[in-house]
């Protein structure tokens, strides 16, 4: 109720998992006891949907595989890699297929995509971490660990 903006509302929701409802003004109204679970939404739109999509696995394969990188792309990517990576932005012109090619060439293992497309940021972070550990460039590592942090965040998420 104290929230003044939508963002603030969302923050409170994220923190507590509870949203404000106008009904809460009623003194006798206890949300944990007076809520009716709706059959349509809960049973069909949630339970059955979850069952079909997750348990049975009834969903189309999202194209997890990127097209192969062209030779030119790979040449460019190798150049950047050979120069030595210090910043993610150095790779900003390299497209995802070429990034994956780099990963393959340098034996960077990537997290299991779980059937989804790998995010660019994840690949970038993996490359950065790998590059740094190969060079044992410790100072770089500590300076750049925010990349790794971001990456692990994505993985956990």
């Amino acid at each position: 109720m104290a929230a003044t903006s939508k963002t603030e509302q969302n923050q409170i929701f994220k923190k507590t998992g509870v949203r404000w409802s106008e009904l809460l003004r009623l003194t006798y109204w206890d949300p944990t006891r007076s809520i009716v679970v709706d059959g349509m939404h809960n049973l069909f739109l949630n339970l059955v949907k979850y069952h079909m999509e997750t348990v049975v696995g009834l969903r189309e394969e999202v194209k997890a595989v990127f097209p192969a990188a062209t030779r030119e792309e790979m040449v460019e990517a190798r150049k950047v890699w050979a120069k030595g990576l210090t910043r993610e932005s150095q790779l900003r012109k390299v497209k995802v297929p070429a990034l994956l090619g780099l990963c393959a060439e340098n034996e960077v293992s990537l997290p299991n995509p779980q059937g989804r497309r790998l995010k660019r940021s994840v690949i970038l972070a993996a490359l950065m971490v790998c590059h740094i550990s190969v060079l044992s460039n410790v100072t770089e590592f500590s300076r750049r660990n925010h990349a790794a942090k971001r990456w692990t965040h994505t993985v956990v998420d």
């Binding site: 394969e61 500590s142 993985v155």
Partner: protein, 472 residues
């Protein structure tokens, strides 16, 4: 992690934060770092087991869906189910997919897989498929009890039993995945079935319908609801809430009209116009809600005198007539004799259920309303049949002539022993395999219990049929 430390030995001290950070990384990190020789420490997480149906399986299911014959009022799952293109499914579509389509398809897919015993298919996968199928059936059973038109302590108890079993099966299939809120919520529905009555009375279908209607109303870009906007000098001449009042008034007017037509005190003149309303607005009969409205409506006009024209009568074909004579010998109906002429109907509504003869309808709608389940004798199990003819004859009762409707049907023959019926494992499921061979002509009356069926070819000469009895 050790590999990292190896790389970090030189100046660990000054990079203590980095080392601490490396320690704090979750274990998933470990598996992805390149130079970890002992990478086989992977924990078997669920995502490895998250199975997605293969492309063939998905295509088979889509094929099955388009082969299914269902009555018009049931909105089936989209033909492209499982692809991005089909968009979000409606609650109704999920409902019909769990009630018939998906379980039947899965039984077919996976029982075949088991029986052929192809090499290269892991036992693990077969086992897992079996478990998934069982859990689907548990969910089906739970929903069956929850969506019944009746409720009782037994209904609630059965619902809870199956829902618990279903949740347990989920935990078994995905030991590392937490159940969702909806799974928790589902455990409260049992209590609510007892408290509030059948779920049809309090679920959200009617409200969603109203929301849908409201969204479609043409408001001519008036912003009735935007308070700030109407304070703006440009819009000041719009009176606030005008739009809402118009909506509310016409909504109430429509509701009152509907109530008036249905009430007993309705003037005859309006009553006789009611069919006009029906013709104008009664077109869309699809979906759970419309079906609810129809099944829960009353059909008190059974005892009306029948006004008929003998000129329109046709001769009954010999085969059907023989059956009719046999029928009249076995059962005597008061004031009725087996005549040789009758009024035939291509389709006919019987207690709100549209029944059509098998030859009626276009290519893609054929059989939609002609495959029925009926009750041969009281307390007998429902059996499937195909409607050959529908006809009515006069019948003298209570001093006036009434209409007696008869259906000439062919029963589906039970399956021969040659084919094993995988559905016998799931007794509560309702669908069964029947031979496509038809029995001799039989006559049933409209007073017998009749309901529509969903059906789908199973294999050569075999059909899977399921009664969709929305009353019990």
């Amino acid at each position: 992690m050790d590999a990292h430390r190896g790389g970090l030995t030189e100046d660990v001290e000054e990079n203590a934060d980095a080392a601490a950070f490396a320690d704090a990384l979750p274990s998933t990190y470990e598996n992805v770092t390149v130079d970890n020789p002992s990478a086989d420490t992977t924990v078997p997480v669920d995502c490895d087991y998250y199975r997605r149906l293969s492309k063939d399986e998905l295509e088979q299911i889509q094929q099955d869906i388009s082969n299914t014959i269902r009555p018009r009022w049931q909105s089936g799952p989209p033909k492209q189910l499982g692809t991005k293109g089909c968009g979000k499914l409606k609650a109704d579509q999920w409902r019909s997919s769990i009630e018939f389509d998906i379980p039947v398809s899965l039984v077919k897919l996976w029982s075949e897989m088991k029986s052929t015993g192809e090499s290269g298919i892991d036992d693990k996968i077969i086992d897992r498929n079996g478990k998934t199928l069982d859990s689907t059936m548990l969910l089906h059973a739970a929903l069956h009890w929850a969506t019944s038109y009746r409720t009782s302590g037994k209904h609630a108890a059965e619902y809870m039993k199956y829902m618990r079993a279903y949740l347990a099966s989920l935990r078994d299939l995905f030991p590392n995945t937490d159940l969702r809120t909806c799974h928790h919520n589902a455990l409260f529905i049992g209590e609510m079935l007892v408290r509030f009555g059948p779920i049809h009375g309090w679920w959200m279908f009617p409200f969603e319908r109203i929301i849908g209607l409201l969204q479609q109303i043409n408001i001519n870009y008036k912003m009735g609801m935007d308070y700030n906007f109407s304070l703006h000098p440009l819009f000041a001449y719009f009176s606030l809430g005008e739009l809402e009042i118009t909506m509310l008034k016409s909504f109430c007017a429509a509701a009152n009209l509907r109530a008036l037509v249905q009430s007993h005190g309705c003037p005859d003149i309006i009553q006789s116009c009611a069919h006009l309303l029906d013709d104008c607005y009664g077109q869309d009969q699809r979906g759970t809600l419309m079906n609810d409205l129809r099944t829960l409506g009353d059909f008190a006009d059974q005892e009306k005198p029948w006004d008929y024209d003998r000129q329109k009568f046709d001769r009954i074909e010999p085969l059907v007539h023989e059956a009719l004579v046999r029928f009249s010998q076995s059962r005597s109906i008061e004031g009725w004799t087996a005549e040789t002429d009758a009024l035939f109907h291509k389709e006919r509504e019987i207690r709100g259920l549209k029944i059509a003869e098998i030859n009626a309808g276009a290519k893609n709608t054929k059989g939609r309303h002609s495959i029925i389940f009926f009750q041969p004798t009281t307390d007998a199990e429902l059996v499937p049949a195909v409607v050959r003819k529908i006809f009515s004859m006069p019948r003298h009762q209570n001093g006036c002539e009434q209409e007696a409707i008869f259906l000439a049907i062919h029963r589906y023959k039970p399956l021969s022993d040659r084919v094993a019926d995988p559905f016998t494992l799931y007794t509560g499921f309702g669908a069964r395999l029947w031979s496509e061979e038809l029995g001799p002509v039989e006559i049933i009356t409209s007073s017998q219990k009749i309901c529509h069926a969903v059906s789908r070819p199973w294999e050569e000469g075999v059909r899977v049929l399921c009664a969709i009895d929305r009353v019990s």
